[in-house]
């Protein structure tokens, strides 16, 4: 690996981590689309910053761009508050307008500088190692690395300091207000971080793909955990994973790095969506099937419990009595036998002691909703896992 390759992967990884942090909270606040709006509307800020400073590497560009991101959020909220249109419409109104103002400003005035639309949209990671941070004659590494490094450190600092405030205002805005944590301050703080991060990531991945880096890792992590801290950690890991795998995919395909990173993110989400334990598609289908079987089993056991008459318990008449298809009846009887819940003696089915206790516990639980009734059998049955 050349040092340029290492630098590119390092920049991409830092960008991914920096995006995952605000991204997690945007996903939880159901504001994913706002990141799209911010990423497009920072363009006029960048261009205006350039006009004022005449210097593409001035930190004022970042400040101006972040400001126009926050202005976008304020405009969206203002339009939404009129109650004339819904939030998605308000977002759709604001960001294309801001973006096109930026496009016109570039076309009219900045033709001779390195600010072209392709780079703005897609970024160009491959070029980032060429723009070096020089102090005198000493090379301190790529400038992008410094920019995103500083942004990431401040984001992590803010996250650690205000984790509790972010959590409570995201989960319960009303309670946050009454406890004296102004949700408005936290909201605009988060929006500012999202804007600054977007600006920092802009150079590397461009306006369109920065959205993917904010949303996809967080959405993937959301499927896998029920703990906010773990969700943040997983989102960062997924981000870095797709940054590095995406880089090598682009290397072998000779394609766009940012495009490959996003493709990996999409595939990763698809994979997790399919196989995630609990919330994943396969797990859900499996659980539904198991629950259906368990309900049948319980119905069957209840029937046996309620009827001591021989004719109600004859193996050949089960279908008529409980109204099952034959296949399912056999399946359920086998399951009950396997669990030693019933015995079959001359074609007559009887509950065993174990079956009787199980049935009683299950009925008691269904009636009383008291979880202690099913402590012992909870792990074996999906039905009782809440």
């Amino acid at each position: 690996m050349s040092s340029a390759q290492i630098e590119i992967q390092l920049i991409a990884s830092l960008v991914a981590i920096a995006c995952a942090i605000p991204g997690t909270f945007l996903v939880l606040r159901k504001m994913a689309l706002i990141s799209d709006a911010i990423s497009h509307s920072i363009l006029p800020g960048l261009v205006l910053g350039f006009f004022i400073t005449q210097d593409l590497s001035s930190p004022w560009l970042i400040v101006m761009a972040a400001l126009s991101g926050v202005v976008t959020v304020i405009l969206v909220e203002y339009i939404q508050k009129t109650n004339l249109v819904k939030e998605d419409t308000a977002i759709g109104l604001v960001f294309p307008t801001m973006f096109s103002i930026g496009v016109i400003l570039i076309a009219k005035n900045a033709n001779d500088v390195h600010l072209d639309i392709d780079v703005v949209l897609l970024g160009e990671l491959a070029f980032t190692p060429f723009d070096r941070m020089m102090v005198g004659d000493v090379d301190l590494g790529p400038k992008s690395l410094w920019v995103i490094g500083i942004i990431l450190s401040s984001t992590i600092g803010l996250l650690i300091a205000f984790f509790k405030e972010l959590k409570i205002s995201t989960f319960d805005k009303g309670l946050a207000t009454t406890l004296g944590f102004s949700p408005a301050i936290i909201h605009y703080g988060l929006m500012s971080v999202a804007s600054v991060t977007t600006v920092g990531a802009f150079d590397a991945v461009g306006a369109i793909l920065v959205v993917a880096l904010m949303i996809a890792p967080a959405a993937t992590a959301y499927l896998l955990t029920t703990d906010l801290k773990k969700m943040l950690g997983l989102a960062m890991i997924f981000g870095v994973f797709s940054a590095i795998v995406g880089y090598w995919l682009a290397h072998y395909l000779d394609a766009s790095i940012s495009g490959s990173m996003t493709t990996i993110l999409g595939l990763l989400f698809l994979l997790v969506y399919l196989i995630a334990p609990g919330k994943g598609l396969i797990a859900v289908l499996y659980r539904n099937k198991q629950q259906r079987i368990e309900v049948s089993l319980l119905t069957f056991l209840l029937h046996l419990n309620n009827h001591s008459e021989i004719e109600e318990r004859h193996i050949n008449h089960l279908n008529e009595h409980i109204n099952w298809r034959k296949v399912r009846a056999k399946f359920v009887v086998d399951l009950a036998l396997k669990n030693n819940m019933v015995t079959i003696d001359e074609d007559i089915i009887s509950l065993t002691e174990k079956g009787r206790i199980f049935t009683e516990k299950a009925i008691n639980y269904i009636i009383s909703n008291d979880p202690t009734e099913i402590e012992a059998i909870k792990e074996d049955f999906f039905l009782f896992r809440g």
Partner: protein, 248 residues
């Protein structure tokens, strides 16, 4: 007021709240004495939740003022606990029951400081009080509606406040949970706390509460249940000829 020496927990003066210039609460005066268990009743859209939210500063009134023990709300935050409507939060949020209850301690911690062992212990005690200790590590979406409501109640208990505001705590809970909740509320009153509850079920007002406020955009009446909970006020509030025989 029957006993003029009784301290006022909450005093609302000329409170008017509007959504888009349309008043939803009009010129409300309300004096809530310390130590009552009060129901706020009224039809849908009467502004019951709005009244609580305006008292707590979640909504800005266009006129009027609110005092908690004689001072504005933002000076008295630590005296007040709030249980919002269950539907006001996203129960799929990645967090556990004990974590939600711990959020009740954030107010006394203030900005930046993080909950430690003491806060965790208080949260576990509150969970135990509402009979939810066994579910402390359960993800909140895995709880039933009644259990979620108990977690919210525990979160308010952990604040150890003087005044409790609750927005429909009995909505969508089973009978067992309803009894458990009302017993905890009555215990709070016994300790001299003031409890204010937005309530829907008129039948249970005389049994659960000792104070009541009738609300329908304007205040209709407020006072002890045994004096003012009658067909006359119910009819004025609900606009139809209401007959809930008050069992005395």
């Amino acid at each position: 007021m029957k006993n003029p020496n009784q301290k006022l927990a909450v005093a609302v003066d000329d409170l008017t709240v509007a959504y888009n210039y349309k008043p939803v609460l009009w010129d409300i005066d309300l004096a809530i004495p310390e130590g009552v268990l009060m129901a706020i009743v009224g039809p849908n859209g009467a502004g019951k939740s709005t009244l609580i939210k305006a008292i707590l500063g979640i909504l800005d009134p266009i006129a009027g003022s609110v005092q908690i023990y004689g001072k504005p709300y933002d000076k008295q935050r630590k005296l007040v606990a709030y249980v919002p409507q269950k539907g006001s939060v996203d129960w799929d949020f990645p967090t556990t029951a004990v974590d939600v209850v711990t959020m009740g301690t954030y107010g006394s911690l203030g900005w930046i400081k993080r909950p430690g062992r003491k806060e965790k212990k208080a949260a576990l005690e509150a969970l135990e009080k509402v009979g939810m200790l066994a579910f402390k590590d359960r993800q909140i979406s895995q709880l039933s509606g009644g259990q979620q409501q108990r977690v919210f109640l525990a979160r308010a208990l952990v604040q150890d406040a003087s005044i409790y505001f609750m927005d429909e705590p009995f909505q969508g809970v089973d009978a067992t949970t309803e009894i458990a909740i009302i017993n905890i509320l009555k215990e709070l009153r016994k300790k001299g706390k003031t409890v204010i509850v937005v309530h829907h079920d008129l039948q249970t007002v005389p049994e659960y509460f000792d104070w009541v406020t009738f609300l329908n955009v304007k205040k209709i009446a407020t006072g002890p249940v045994k004096d003012i909970f009658n067909d006359d006020n119910l009819t004025k509030t609900y606009g139809i000829n209401y007959k809930v025989s008050v069992q005395k």
